[in-house]
């Protein structure tokens, strides 16, 4: 492993300008400069990755994903307004750079290193939310990610002498990082607790790198299909009842990850390309939704005039063919059908439709009732526009990225998707939606494990520590006391022998004489 790692480190990974920019942004006190440094870093990184010539480090699909990461970082920079976002910006840039480097790393060790960097940066973003909940979610996030990192480390260490269990460790680690159930709770709490800017950065790379790693290392694991589908269905149900837009979106993210994992489970070339396309598409439309939701949340729920069209476009990007969301899901669907799992394709389409309805349409209808928020700033508009155009570009030119993409434009997938979207619209645009009563934090209990559990577990060790400390203290007291007792006894005996009248001295002389005689005679 050390040789591969040494090789990896030999040449600087692609994302390094971003990491550098992030570090500088974090340490410079003035916010404006932080954003400019960020933009510079972005441009430098893009130029270095594609324009600087030399063999492209990444294959086309991964390159596209890297570009998507850069777009998200750009949107995040534009969206970030206030001063206290400085930590989020800095950590976001570092994380984006690390994500690109992770994509480029060849050895498992390289991947592990950069995923850890992402974990640390993301934890910082979450904690930058500032609320007590954000700190707890951030710490829980960090602990779980580090646990995954350690499992990965163990896998690599075991792997180096070829035992079979090494693979299991690596798989478990990547599943944790990809927020597979039953460990998906950290993502829900983290994204919900982060600041609006933070959530934009988080939505992009945190889980996607893990998914790509899974695709590279474990294609065709049958168990993953079932896990993926279960995850998709399980995560989409709470979206029906959740009223808080951001929490709703996090559930949607988890369900889309389920779809991707199902695709990886299938393992055919078509499915894997579908997964990568969905990943890129999901990065774009999820971030767009977070931008819109963030803009709304920043204005306390009062929607500014210019936001509604972007909300509509965001909703369409989720599933409308020709835009970002549709392409990946359709290809995966086709791959499933080719593999004889037609029903799985239906499940994916239905889940897609539900996400389209709950994450896109319902907020569009319900959330924009109270106008009057201060005007949409130019920066926020630009960020949203950038993502919409990216979605459009991906939707239409997706075919160029991979030969499998044209499968999405066959008749059947288009028709099925059309029907599903129509049904979703029907439900959401009519009073039928009121049947699904909404309240904030609905089905929150499903977001297992809770941050309090994770932190509680680690602090539980603290209580063990307190107990150990007490035992140690008691033992020390005991030994100390015993020592003092022996000390006093010894001093008492020694003084008895040493201090007293001269007569005792002579008496002792006689006793010694008798002892010497006895010993010598004996």
């Amino acid at each position: 492993m050390t040789e591969a790692l040494a090789l990896d480190l030999a040449l600087l990974p692609p994302g390094w300008p971003l990491v550098l920019a992030g570090l500088l942004a974090g340490l410079l006190p003035i916010p404006i400069a932080a954003r400019n440094v960020g933009f510079l870093g972005l441009l430098a990184s893009l130029w270095l990755m594609f324009m600087a010539g030399g063999a492209p480090v990444l294959e086309p699909l991964d390159a596209a994903l890297a570009i998507a990461f850069h777009l998200v970082a750009g949107a995040g920079l534009m969206f970030a307004a206030a001063h206290e976002d400085r930590i989020a910006i800095a950590a976001g840039l570092v994380a984006t750079g690390a994500a690109c480097a992770a994509l480029a790393s060849r050895s498992l060790a390289g991947l592990m290193i950069w995923t850890e960097v992402i974990a640390i940066a993301s934890a910082l973003i979450v904690m930058a939310g500032g609320t007590q909940a954000a700190i707890r979610a951030g710490l829980a996030y960090l602990l779980l990610q580090v646990l995954a990192g350690v499992l990965l480390l163990v896998g690599i260490a075991l792997g180096s002498d070829g035992t079979v269990t090494a693979g299991a460790f690596v798989l478990l680690a990547l599943l944790i990082k990809a927020a597979a159930p039953p460990v998906h709770g950290w993502l829900i709490h983290a994204y919900a607790a982060a600041s609006p800017t933070g959530s934009i950065f988080l939505s992009a790379f945190a889980t996607k790198v893990a998914v790509i790693a899974l695709a590279r290392l474990f294609p065709g694991e049958p168990a993953l299909i079932w896990l993926g589908l279960a995850m998709a269905v399980l995560a989409v149900i709470p979206t029906l009842f959740e009223s808080d837009w951001r929490r709703l979106l996090t559930w949607a993210v988890v369900s889309q990850l389920g779809v991707m994992i199902a695709g990886i489970g299938l393992g055919t070339a078509e499915a894997l390309d579908g997964v990568r396309l969905l990943a890129i598409g999901h990065v774009v439309y999820a971030t767009l939704l977070f931008v819109v939701a963030g803009a709304l949340e920043m204005r306390g729920g009062k929607a500014p005039a210019g936001l509604r069209p972007f909300a509509l476009l965001a909703a369409l990007t989720i599933g409308l063919p020709g835009l970002a969301g549709y392409l990946g899901k359709a290809v995966i669907g086709e791959a499933l059908i080719d593999a004889g799992l037609g029903w799985a394709d239906i499940v994916i389409v239905v889940v897609g439709a539900v996400v389209f309805a709950t994450a896109g349409l319902r907020p569009l209808v319900e959330k924009f009732g109270t106008p009057g928020g201060e005007r949409l700033s130019l920066r926020e508009g630009a960020a949203a526009l950038l993502l919409v155009l990216a979605g459009l570009a991906l939707g239409s030119f997706g075919g160029a990225l991979s030969p499998q993409a044209e499968a999405a434009f066959h008749a059947t997938p288009l028709i099925v998707q059309g029907i599903a979207l129509a049904a979703a619209a029907l439900v959401m645009l009519t009073p039928v939606r009121r049947l699904l009563r909404q309240r904030p934090g609905a089905l929150g209990a499903l977001a297992v494990p809770m941050p309090s559990w994770v932190i509680g577990a680690v602090q539980g060790f603290g209580r063990v520590g307190a107990a150990l400390d007490a035992i140690g203290g008691a033992a020390a007291g005991l030994i100390g006391g015993g020592g003092r007792l022996v000390g006093h006894a010894a001093v008492g005996l020694a003084r008895y022998v040493s201090i007293g009248g001269v007569g005792d001295g002579v008496l002792w002389t006689l006793t010694v004489l008798t002892i010497v005689l006895i010993v010598s005679f004996g």
């Binding site: 006793t511 010694v512 010497v516 005689l517 010598s520």
Partner: protein, 493 residues
């Protein structure tokens, strides 16, 4: 002429000059005279050492009476080395004795103190030099009587010196009498008093009488060597005597007793298990370890620095006895290394304590506050001596401790190994009391910086340098000790 008669002159010189010094009126001149005589004695002793270095044994017949009838002064390497130790100690102490007595002893009494000092020196050197066992008793009495007087002279600063002297007198006289009884038994069955001759005749003598005689002698010497149950006199004697005298006693008194044990070890007490001899191997290690423990434990609780050093001396004596108990050439060599090193270390510390007493008037622990600021050199020497007692590397103490433990390891005597190592922990405790009292305690009123009086610098400094020097370059000490031990065991008559 001087060279041949050095053997007897080394005793006669201080013996005859003592009354003359007593007659001098002016204390300063008397002090100077004492110093000169002690220095001359040291020269004579060094002469003897040079003559005996190559293994020759000088035999001087008093009054030309041939042994075993006449009294013979047999000087081998051990005797010469001990004579050097005694006379060097006397010279060093004589350097600061006059200054140290100011405020402690009235000027009128001082000449008599110097006379007693010289008498004590004569007695001790006599014990070391003579080859006749009764003559040892006579010199023992001479040195003891003068020691009682010297201790009593400490009454100026602490009246308890009187009772200390009285106790020591009673116990000392009892011990000496036991010694004489022992000689009587040995004389009855062997008919001779010459130690070398005694050794040969004892092999064929009736066992029980020899054993009783040996036991009496052992108890007599044990009392002089302050072995554990009989050490009652020593702390008071060292603590209440005038500081300079305390230094002299610490370097010599009990050391001579250990010498007597070694000298008679090859005829009075011998290899374990042999009927008729005191069983060293069974007796000495336990007593030694007990002394190590008791001495260290009480040292931790004493209130006065000089009593602390006295009890520490008991502990170090225990270490010597342990070494002697392990037996063989290595055992005696280890005991001798400990003897010489401890004399140097403890001499240095007592001399420094005398300097502190001279400046501050008291050696109680509270009086040491702020020592590191206004008497840094003195404090440095005390700490150096303390580290040597603990057995920190690069000090003489480390060498002496190492020699004993290594010997115990080679004999797989785990009791001794564990005992010596553990008791060195208690040593850390009482040495660090000195450091904390001197460095960390805050004095009520800060004192101006007035370090050791010049008279103390040479002796305390020399001994301190020797403590460090012998720790780093211990080769000369080790070869001397092993050569003596080889001569003892090898050429036993």
């Amino acid at each position: 002429m001087i060279a041949q008669n050095a053997a007897v002159l080394v005793v006669v010189l201080p013996l005859l000059s003592a009354p003359l010094v007593a007659l001098i009126r002016n204390p300063a001149i008397a002090g100077a005279a004492a110093l000169v005589i002690a220095a001359l004695d040291a020269v004579l002793a060094t002469l003897l050492l040079c003559q005996t270095l190559d293994g020759t044994v000088i035999s001087y017949h008093l009054g030309n009476w041939a042994p075993p009838i006449g009294i013979e002064y047999r000087i081998d390497l051990l005797a010469a080395a001990m004579a050097c130790l005694l006379s060097y100690a006397a010279t060093l102490v004589a350097l600061f004795l006059p200054v140290s007595l100011q405020g402690a002893v009235s000027p009128g009494d001082r000449p008599r103190l110097f006379a007693a000092f010289l008498l004590c020196l004569a007695g001790l050197v006599g014990i070391v030099v003579t080859g006749d066992i009764f003559n040892v008793f006579v010199f023992l009495e001479i040195s003891s009587l003068s020691t009682y007087v010297l201790i009593a002279m400490g009454a100026g600063t602490d009246r308890r010196a009187l009772t200390a002297a009285f106790d020591y007198l009673i116990l000392g006289a009892t011990g000496a009498t036991f010694f004489v009884i022992g000689i009587a038994f040995l004389y009855v069955v062997t008919g001779t008093l010459n130690m070398a001759d005694l050794g040969e005749r004892m092999a064929t003598a009736p066992k029980r009488a020899i054993l009783v005689g040996s036991s009496f002698i052992f108890v007599g010497v044990a009392l002089k060597a302050a072995m554990l149950p009989l050490h009652r006199w020593m702390p008071n004697a060292y603590a209440y005597a005038p500081a300079a005298i305390g230094t002299f006693l610490a370097m010599t008194a009990t050391k001579v007793a250990i010498y007597m044990l070694i000298r008679m070890s090859d005829f009075v007490f011998d290899t374990p298990g042999e009927i008729g001899r005191v069983n060293f191997a069974a007796l000495l290690p336990p007593i030694g370890l007990a002394m190590l423990l008791a001495g260290s434990v009480i040292a931790v609780t004493t209130k006065d620095l000089r009593r602390l050093l006295a009890y520490s001396s008991i502990a170090n004596l225990g270490l010597m006895l342990v070494a002697l108990g392990l037996g063989g050439v290595a055992g005696i060599a280890a005991a001798l290394v400990n003897l010489f090193n401890h004399a140097i270390i403890k001499g240095g510390m007592f001399a420094t304590t005398a300097a502190v007493l001279h400046r501050r008037g008291s050696t109680r622990m509270e009086a040491l506050a702020g020592l590191s600021k206004d008497m840094p050199v003195a404090f440095g020497l005390l700490v150096l001596g303390g580290l040597a007692l603990i057995g920190v590397p690069l000090t003489a103490g480390f060498v002496s401790k190492l020699v004993v433990i290594k010997l115990a390891f080679d004999q797989a005597n785990w009791l001794v190994v564990g005992g010596v190592l553990l008791t060195s922990l208690i040593t850390v405790a009482y040495i660090w009391r000195i450091v904390e009292a001197g460095m960390l305690a805050v004095p009520e009123k800060p004192r101006p910086r007035r370090d050791l009086h010049p008279a103390f610098i040479l002796p305390a400094g020399l001994l301190g340098a020797a403590t460090l020097g012998l720790g780093i370059w211990s080769e000369p000490m080790l070869t001397l000790a092993s050569r003596i031990a080889a001569q003892m065991i090898g050429t036993a008559p």
